[in-house]
């Protein structure tokens, strides 16, 4: 670490202080005890002609370095030699080039270094080279040009990895004799590491080692597969007119430096619209390889942008890859409509149910009035009466007169106004008939049984003494089909003393409570109470004329009976 700092500190001051001459400063590195040849680059500038003088100086000295080739440090053919270099040789050297017209200088900093303890290299002076797994490759033992032996034949090179010899025993590694390259086949990640190449240089009969150390980096490398589009993927996007869109073509490629570009309507995007300025980018990809892309801004989407496909194209060594994106006007928010629709549907259903609950009776009555005559089958059920009316008879003492209700109010509304046919015991039975027989027969001929109840407190023991109600209830419950309508003339708080059958009906079907008075004035069939009663009553039967003729006159015209009584 300290030595790396040392190097950086050495370079930076020179780079900054010689700003004008920075291009004329470079650093050379040599392992202590090894030879090095330093050349001067300005001598290679084409503008310089061949007739020039090149002289080397150690910085600060006016004496040129000797050209005496037996000397350890000497100049030979414009090259500065150290055979070998010692630590004291570290320092700045000046190469001075002169011809008839001009002179030029170049500075070279020589660093003589020692290897790291226990290693065959110094981590700070490594060369870096790269090999790709997908294509194999070669590494080079660098900077050996000056070390051909005295017969000018290429030096023989030994290769080491991590300072261990015998690398060539692995036949994946190949180095021909006299070749400065090391070929690596079937490269794996394990081939990454520190390599050393070593040769010898014999000068004046003395053999010197020349070594170079290389850090070899292994990369996945380019593959023979075409680039893959990350975006676009031949799809469409919804954008509002006037909105800002970034069109970003994003491609994953194992080959670097490919250039994707956008086209629309068969031309480059900047020709389609001169505000569409493409920017290219490339960055390393997470899993090796590269992300290449081209992107441009549509600051405000225009109508013309909707009418074409935007193609992103990329040419690669194996062909061309193309993908497109289409801008679309946003569709109406279906989800919003769907939710709205569902909510309103639920609301409508709830409202309908609520209204039906509220107006059920009115609806049924209306239906019976307007539609039923047309829809119902006109087949007689064999019954004569719509309802058989049971009530506590002769209870004048009662606060609520069931007599008045049953004999006046009920017929007034149900018979006169609604056209029902009632059998009211005590009105329609013929004197002398056996009560039981009459009740039994008439109940069987009725579609409903209306039982008028009065509170016990006001009219004690209402129904108990009659057997007809027993029969009626019995028939209603056992011979199902006869529905019982309970009418309370006042609130009955306590049903405990009622017969079981009444309790059962009350519990099952409830009772309708009368709240009106018993005055002689006309009662309207359209009050809530009567609507309730009519609702529980069967639909009015429309009887065919032939059937009518068979009925007794009395039943045909209940009004006349009323008048007679």
């Amino acid at each position: 670490m300290t030595s790396s700092l040392w190097f950086i500190c050495c370079i930076i001051p020179y780079v900054s202080s010689f700003s004008a001459e920075q291009r004329k400063l470079s650093s050379d590195f040599v392992l202590v005890g090894e030879p090095i040849a330093i050349s001067c680059q300005i001598a290679k500038i084409p503008t310089l002609h061949s007739d020039y003088n090149l002289t080397w100086y150690r910085n600060g000295s006016d004496t040129p370095i000797t050209t005496e080739t037996r000397s350890r440090i000497h100049q030979r053919d414009n090259v500065l030699w150290f055979i070998p270099a010692t630590l004291e040789d570290s320092g700045l050297y000046e190469c001075n080039v002169r011809n008839s017209d001009s002179s030029d200088k170049e500075y070279i900093h020589l660093h003589v270094f020692k290897n790291n303890d226990g290693l065959c290299f110094n981590g700070e002076t490594m060369y870096k080279q790269k090999v790709f797994m997908s294509i194999g490759g070669k590494i080079t033992c660098p900077d050996l040009e000056y070390f051909n032996d005295e017969n000018n034949t290429a030096p023989e090179i030994q290769w080491y990895k991590e300072c261990k010899p015998g690398l060539l025993q692995d036949n994946r590694f190949l180095s021909s004799k006299g070749d400065i390259y090391l070929m690596i086949n079937n490269v794996t990640m394990h081939d990454k590491g520190n390599y050393m190449c070593q040769t010898t240089y014999t000068y004046m009969g003395i053999q010197h080692n020349v070594s170079r150390t290389i850090y070899v980096d292994i990369e996945e490398g380019p593959k023979k597969t075409p680039p893959v589009f990350v975006y676009p993927k031949n799809h469409s996007i919804e954008v509002e007119l006037g909105s800002h869109v970034i069109m970003d073509c994003n491609i994953s490629s194992s080959i670097s430096t490919l250039n994707p570009y956008w086209q629309v309507n068969g031309e480059d995007v900047n020709i389609f619209d001169n505000t569409y300025e493409e920017q290219f980018y490339e960055k390393p990809s997470q899993g090796g390889g590269f992300i290449i892309g081209a992107r441009f801004n549509i600051s405000k989407v225009k109508s013309k942008d909707y009418s074409h496909k935007f193609f992103c194209r990329v040419l690669h060594p194996y062909g061309e890859a193309v993908a497109y994106v289409v801008l679309k006007r946003p569709a109406p928010n279906i989800q919003g409509y769907l939710i709205g629709g569902l909510v309103s549907l639920v609301f409508i259903i709830v409202a309908t149910v609520f209204v039906y609950k509220l107006l059920k009776i009115d609806i049924v009555l209306w239906y019976r009035n307007s539609c039923h005559p047309f829809l119902s089958k006109k087949v007689s059920d064999g019954k004569i009466y719509d309802a058989y009316v049971l009530y506590p008879k002769n209870r004048v003492s009662c606060l609520y007169s069931p007599d008045i209700f049953a004999l006046k109010v009920l017929p007034e509304v149900l018979e006169r106004q609604c056209g029902y046919n009632l059998f009211i015991f005590g009105r329609d039975d013929l004197p002398g008939q056996a009560v039981v027989n009459v009740a039994d027969e008439k109940i069987n001929q009725s579609r409903r049984v209306i039982i008028v109840l009065v509170p016990e407190s006001s009219c004690y023991n209402v129904l108990e003494d009659t057997c007809e109600q027993q029969l009626a209830v019995y028939n209603a419950l056992i011979h199902d089909g006869i529905k019982v309508i309970l009418i309370e003339l006042d609130k009955i708080k306590d049903y405990t003393n009622m017969p079981e059958s009444i309790k059962y009906i009350k519990q099952k079907h409830g009772a309708i409570r009368w709240k009106g008075d018993f005055t002689e004035r006309s009662h309207s069939a359209s009050t809530k109470f009567w609507k309730n009663v009519r609702y529980q009553m069967p639909p009015r039967q429309t009887v065919s004329p032939s059937e009518l003729q068979l009925l007794p006159t009395a039943f045909n015209s209940p009004h006349s009976i009323m008048l007679e009584r």
């Binding site: 291009r23 650093s27 290679k44 500038i45 970034i246 080959i255 390393p284």
Partner: protein
Amino acid sequence: MGCPVCQLSYLIVLFLFHCSEARLSSIHEKPATQMKVPKYRLWDVAQKSLYLRNNQLVAGYLQGPNSVLEEKIYCVTNRFFEPEKFPIILGIQEGRRSLACGTGDLPVLQLEDVNITELSRGGAETSRFTFFRSYKDGMWRFESAANPGWLLCTSAQSNEPLGLTLRPDAAHIVDFYFQLF
């Protein structure tokens, strides 16, 4: 965090932070033009890198700390030429200096102070700045658009300038690795 006031102030701070963040991101969306231009490494099959020496692009082995001297290569596609030929303009120093072929009898490679992005908009006169690329086994060759057959090359010797050659041989290396820096 126990007191409701603390929680409330925490929520307010969170909300404000969220707002400021939202505003920032909307600002960020705009200048897509200030994107980083990609830099590339160009090195030859013998692993020589390019660096500047005496105002020339030179290919050599950069040892240790010298590796920082490696020149970053900037490149743009020249849309004037057929994309099938991978026509590119190469430059150094943020693309301010372009690699060009001289107009003499024999093509000579030189650096010219022209921005590569300006050249990428140009027409036929940009051909001497343009190279057609071909790819083989992970390596690229660069042929001068103005001088058909002339390929970008390095010398087998290190520290020699980048040049052009008609005949690739052992002394003239024309295969390059070209990759994101």
